[in-house]
Symmetry: C2
Amino acid sequence: MEGGGLPAKHKVWRLEKRPVGLVKEGDLVIHEEPLPQLTADDQFLVKNIYISIDPTQRIWMTDKEQYLPPVAIGEAMRSGTLGVVVKSNTSAYQVGDLVAGLGSMQEYSVATPAAGLQKLDKGLIQTAHIPLTAFMNVLGFIGITAYFGLLDVGKPKEGETVVVSAAAGATGSLVGQIAKAKGCRVVGLAGSADKCRLLTEELGFDAAINYKTENVEESIKRHCPKGVDVYFDNVGGDILNILVSAMNLYGRIVVCGIISQYNNEGQSSLTTLRDYEKVLLRRLRVEGFIVLDYFPRAAEAIGALAGWFAEGKVKNRVHVVKGLENGLKAINMLFAGENNGRLLVQVADEPAL
Amino acid sequence: MEGGGLPAKHKVWRLEKRPVGLVKEGDLVIHEEPLPQLTADDQFLVKNIYISIDPTQRIWMTDKEQYLPPVAIGEAMRSGTLGVVVKSNTSAYQVGDLVAGLGSMQEYSVATPAAGLQKLDKGLIQTAHIPLTAFMNVLGFIGITAYFGLLDVGKPKEGETVVVSAAAGATGSLVGQIAKAKGCRVVGLAGSADKCRLLTEELGFDAAINYKTENVEESIKRHCPKGVDVYFDNVGGDILNILVSAMNLYGRIVVCGIISQYNNEGQSSLTTLRDYEKVLLRRLRVEGFIVLDYFPRAAEAIGALAGWFAEGKVKNRVHVVKGLENGLKAINMLFAGENNGRLLVQVADEPAL
């Protein structure tokens, strides 16, 4: 089936050099290229509407050990995507279907069913008034990450104290909201007064700490008078090490990300957990997790999150940058902490539903 | 009831100075003192037969954060003990009862039921020919530590690879034997060729690595061709950090002890876990545990261990030093790694049963 009106060319961000430190022009380069063509029976063509900008992309740009194959030099840069099927050779995906999953930073992509793109429920979107961006955030990878990372790995109990770093970020802000929905005391760490206000005034956090201006150790003590039971770590580095010493007996540290270190090439000494003896003495559990492992259970998370979203307990905060050509700029906004909410690049207008 | 023939005086090791580095004369001092007297209705007098020498005693000698109150200056040095009741004001403990638990390094001690000393089953000891020392080793704290640390925290599956450090030590050797009983590949790290031979030739380990003479990183790769699923860490330090990089996806690091650091006052930078990012990328679980938390489930461990002991699957290896006056010498033997098996100081002859 033919979607009609397709351009002859489109734009693609390709990885041309492995970045050292921050991602610079020349590391990622945008190209205008011929529109990809369907060449096999099971293929379909997706027109991307949104692509997501994630800290983990910085890992994919390296050739260090990681949890997915590195993006090869010359390859289109991998990213989360949400798009609409505009041409299809397979009945499994039909023109007009909305699909979300792992794609890359380009206007159009050829996919097969094996790519595992999830079809979105248009009926639900219309009746429940769910914004499309929610599927790139609360009801997407981010939601699944926050849900299982906090509940399955962190296992907070009602009344316990949960601390989350990068708390104004996409995952962190959701972790805090879920922890509140579960009856925990929630303290967030963020890098500006505005972000801290957002956490306490809009997202229901009990307290927020500006790690750039406050003494984190003292602020944690003040805001966590009963100690810390779960630390959801998005950053690693010094903040991790302060938290290790603030944990209660049987505390859990959920290792979700180490954003403080992603641009520190070769300084692996920075990714250390000091005071390892506290892991012993306080019987801490320090556990890493990657959302991919939880994809088989995604429906459980999405179901719970959709409920909380409908009740207003979790908010869909997105920061949309328009235009694929701003992809590199958006990546650097993320590492500078300049985004407010889940950072998306809008590649095309949303379709009428 | 009176046990008869009690001396007027006895010997006691007291902590007189907090050691810096290795424990030296003057830190622990042996005194001859009047025999302690029963002064309350619920008291009984224990004549100690064995006291155990444990790495954790070095922690108790400090006033750093720890899992039990530090031993106070002037106090009798805490230790594991096995003894016989020689005088009692309470029907809960009768003269002739054999008792084991936490006591101190002295010939006689006054205890109450609240001290939680376990009464040993003399009938079982006689019919099953269980040596008394087994209750200070395989069927005591050590056994409970190895059993729950490996099985409850490490959760090895049949066919997985388990690595244990300080593998010729009391806990490590037992961990390896239990892992073999559970069908795992077991590799031990020890500090001499003799200890390595013991592991492979007598205790059934699949391989042993002499960490003092071998390149541990290469030896781990050679002996663990499928990677490491469980690392039972008794030592911390450099070996921990080599193992972090050898762990498989979803690997578990059981934090049982950090003996390499116990004599390193003030060098807390040594107790670091480097390559924290591997905890994330490989979804590792790093979990500390202290045997005290498992005391309520002790019977489960002792039951299983008694079965394996009867079948010859776990051996009761003890290294007995005679004479309470050799207590300090024994402590330094332990940290020099000079003992072969569970290190006990024999304070008095075993009673006829």
